[in-house]
């Protein structure tokens, strides 16, 4: 074997291994979301919440193979330019590289993207807890994870995406195509789904506490671990070094600075803004990383910290704002993912203003970033709203009120989460009263 052949072989092996580790770490995100949502549910819904997370993973990964991967290669320039059907045909599920192939490592890239896809579904999953039909959720998550997010990725997270080539877009950590898309899609669904029974009584918000807040906090810590895999997958590894998906040189060192400082800043910001409320404080870590994600390959760590502090401090306020509209976002997914991604992208437009893109593409600029954020918000929101509206009209979106009151674990899940009967969901006084019965009857 010549030295060139040896080098090529080693490149292939290391690329394979690099993304393999990324995939394994990203599975921690799903373990984290599962624990997070189980903890955030009342004890009557914990197994249904866990099943929903498991099934999200299964359905999104399989459908992402069957038709999702193709969108990434067909849509980068569409509708600004032509649909690239001929280029994308190599990524159809029956193409030569869509399976074991001695000369291709396509599967490792597909695997990383499949985990990103499943993450979008998991983001939505927590917001709709305790009242959505699992079947409706899986239909929605298939559309989000295997169609909508990957079109967004083609536009905004691809070396030839039209947001980059036309507007100078920069979003290293997928704040737009993963977090903003999932948050906006979820908002559209929540509008049609409605709040949990008892969440708003006579128009006034009533807090429904998680049945296991420590588990929720542990879940978020697992998500933090998974984030290192997620951000590892945002780096393009080659034998000549690391690049962002937009082609500019970077390395994992840059990402270590920003990720850790983003986590720290977000937690501090959320703690201060929420006056030490544990749920918002731990969510602040996520908010911080998402806020710095667009420029985490370029921000100074202290600047990343400041941006993250502001991002973390925003979430309790965004959460309250959403609540005022009667929207019940159980885990703050719209707030943390949608709100902080939008904020982070807008901030990056000003902070990164003038950074060059490669090959003569427009420099990073505020209008490009803000315009891109609006485009992605609409791309997420419109299908989420319309498809959930159709499911609602077909009476397929929401579980019956009797089942909601009794809990999903007593109906569709043939198992008992706590056979010894603890912990028991504590009923608020207002939830036992006539107001709830009136709401059910209405």
């Amino acid at each position: 074997m010549s030295p060139e052949d040896t080098l090529a072989s080693m490149e292939s092996v290391i690329t394979d291994l690099f993304y393999w580790v990324s995939i394994a770490l990203m599975i921690a995100i799903h373990a984290g979301f599962l624990a997070y949502e189980v903890g955030a549910s009342r004890s009557k819904n914990v197994l249904a919440a866990a099943m929903k997370n498991l099934l999200t993973f299964a359905v999104v990964v399989s459908t992402f193979f069957f038709f999702g991967w193709w969108f990434y290669y067909a849509f980068p320039q569409f509708p600004a330019g032509a649909l690239d059907v001929s280029g994308a045909k190599d990524y159809l599920p029956w193409a030569d590289i869509s399976g074991p192939n001695t000369t291709s490592v396509n599967g490792i890239f597909w695997g990383a993207f499949a985990l990103f896809a499943a993450t979008t579904g998991s983001i939505m999953s927590g917001a709709v807890l305790e009242r959505i039909r699992t079947s409706a959720f899986l239909i929605l998550t298939t559309v989000l994870g295997s169609v909508v997010w990957i079109i967004a990725a083609a536009w905004s997270w691809h070396g030839n995406g039209w947001l980059l080539t036309e507007w100078g877009w920069h979003d290293f950590g997928a704040a737009g195509c993963v977090h903003l898309i999932a948050g906006a899609f979820t908002l559209g669904v929540l509008i049609n789904l409605g709040p949990r029974i008892g969440r708003f009584v006579n128009g006034k918000a009533v807090t429904i506490p998680p049945h296991n807040l420590p588990l929720t906090m542990l879940g978020l810590m697992l998500i933090f671990v998974g984030f290192f895999g997620f951000l590892m997958g945002c780096v393009v590894y080659t034998n000549t070094g690391y690049f962002s998906i937009f082609g500019n040189p970077t390395n994992l060192s840059a990402i270590a600075f920003s990720t850790l400082m983003g986590l720290a800043g977000g937690i501090i910001g959320a703690y201060v803004a929420s006056k030490g409320e544990p749920f918002w404080t731990i969510s602040g870590g996520l908010a911080g990383v998402i806020s710095v994600a667009p420029g985490m390959d370029l921000y100074h760590p202290a600047l990343a910290f400041i941006i993250a502090v502001v991002g973390g401090s925003l979430i309790p306020h965004i959460g309250k704002l959403i609540e005022r509209f009667g929207i019940d976002d159980v885990v703050g997914a719209v707030t943390v993912h949608g709100g902080c991604a939008f904020y982070g992208i807008v901030v990056s437009g000003f902070v990164l203003w003038g950074y060059p893109n490669i090959e003569g593409m427009p420099d990073v600029n505020p209008l490009g970033q803000i315009g891109g954020a609006i485009v992605l918000t609409l791309l997420g929101f419109v299908p989420g709203y319309l498809i959930s509206l159709a499911l609602k009209k077909a009476k397929m979106l929401r579980i019956p009120p009797e089942v909601e009151l009794a809990g999903l674990d007593l109906s569709e899940v043939p198992a008992t989460p706590y056979p010894e009967g603890i912990p028991v969901t504590r009923l608020n006084g207002s939830m036992n009263g006539t107001a709830v019965k009136e709401e059910v009857n209405a």
Partner: protein, 71 residues
């Protein structure tokens, strides 16, 4: 279903790699299984919700030990 007769030629080695029609069939069957799974889930949900509303057990058989009372 081997598409190769030796390991000397690099390239696709997966089952059915020499026949697009077979691969399309695999994919279509896979998609149908996912759709069938969703249909089955809707049926299960409808049954489970109806049984609960009618105060009937969702599944036949004795109650499991430690089963919590109705909420």
């Amino acid at each position: 279903m081997s598409p190769i007769s030796d390991w000397d030629t690099p390239g696709a080695v997966f089952t059915g790699a020499d026949s697009t029609a077979v691969l399309v069939l695999f994919v279509v069957l896979g998609i149908l299984i996912v759709i069938g799974f969703l249909v089955k889930m809707v049926q299960h949900e409808n049954h489970a919700y109806a049984q609960m509303i009618n105060h009937e057990p969702v599944e036949r058989g004795p109650a499991a030990e430690g089963e919590p009372p109705v909420y």
